[in-house]
Symmetry: C2
Subunit: 166 residues, 2 copies
DNA sequence: TAATACCCTGTAGTCACTCCATGGTCAAGC
DNA sequence: GCTTGACCATGGAGTGACTACAGGGTATTA
């Protein structure tokens, strides 16, 4: 029997908030730990490893549902690894799509930012003018990199591509 | 009096889901519309413009709280525009920070993806090995661009920087 | 008259946490 | 023995920006 840790110790060892640890347990990602006599959770090294694995996956922006799937593969080493493959591929696709839209976004905001030099009234603010013009569907400098400006599909697509994660 | 539209028409004209339109109304972003005799919402051109404005801002990933602030500036054109300035600046900062972490993420995932060529058992999968190794704190190829791999602070910081939006 | 395509309200669910209220446990200091 | 403070427990609510759904009303067309 190895030494056990309380939740606060596990949290410190992994840099994970104790509320998050309890959340992972409730979500079925972290096995239910034993309890010491006073009712405190008692974690072992297996929990520490597992929690580190989860956090590493989360650092890669992998959803908890996918982390769960990866943990299944870890638990069943004889299974075909094709799923792992596809999972990481899909994750990479999502990240790349989001990266692309973030880059466009950065350009748009930078252009918008350049429209306002010094202080004046809102009525004269180039940024506000630009935003209103874009809403009107007029040509606007902040979209120089995209073909059309405020047509319904382009706007909602941009939002969709940034929102959708599963 | 200009022609009015029902919610479905407004939705089609702007590419916005009708549930989202109602949500914006409840959130106080879209003015409460008049109702026709049957109780249906009756929108005018002002609503269409405003909704387009909101969506354009959302396409720039500006939070609804900030969109509200921008709408206040639109409503009070004599106010000092400094707030607009700062708002866009802060937005740009957020986007750039996120962009940076997304780029690191993309590299990590790409490296991870390269670890698995053909199909085999999960036990032999390079991806899984890599993830487990990372969780153990061993040197892992997917972090060649970052100094340390799975120390608590670096992992949680990475997650934090990607989660925080306000 | 029936089907359908709309519209209404209100509530609950999503994701991955985060915060809070309320109360129990334990060790140290007085 | 008592208090203080650091921990731990549970359950429930809140976050943002929607999205989905149940259960009903209305309007148009066949």
């Amino acid at each position: 029997m190895d030494t056990t840790m309380r939740i606060g110790e596990l949290g410190k060892a992994t840099g994970v908030d104790i509320e998050t640890i309890r959340y992972y347990e409730k979500a079925g990602l972290l096995p239910v730990p034993a309890r010491s006599q006073n009712g405190y959770r008692a974690y072992g090294s297996a929990h520490l490893e597992r929690l580190a694995f989860i956090r590493h996956c989360r650092a890669l922006d992998i959803s908890l549902a996918d982390v769960k799937r990866l943990l299944d593969f870890v638990a069943h080493p004889n299974a075909d690894c094709e799923g792992i493959d596809l999972l990481i591929d899909a994750q990479l696709d999502r990240v790349r799509a989001r990266l692309k839209s973030m880059q466009a976004l950065e350009q748009q905001l930078a252009a918008l930012r350049g429209r306002c030099g010094e202080r004046h009234s809102a009525a004269e603010c180039g940024i506000l003018h630009e935003l209103v013009a874009a809403a009107h569907g007029e040509a606007c400098a902040c979209h120089f990199d995209t073909p059309s400006c405020s047509t319904e599909t382009s706007v909602s697509d941009k939002i969709d591509s940034r929102r959708k994660k599963t």
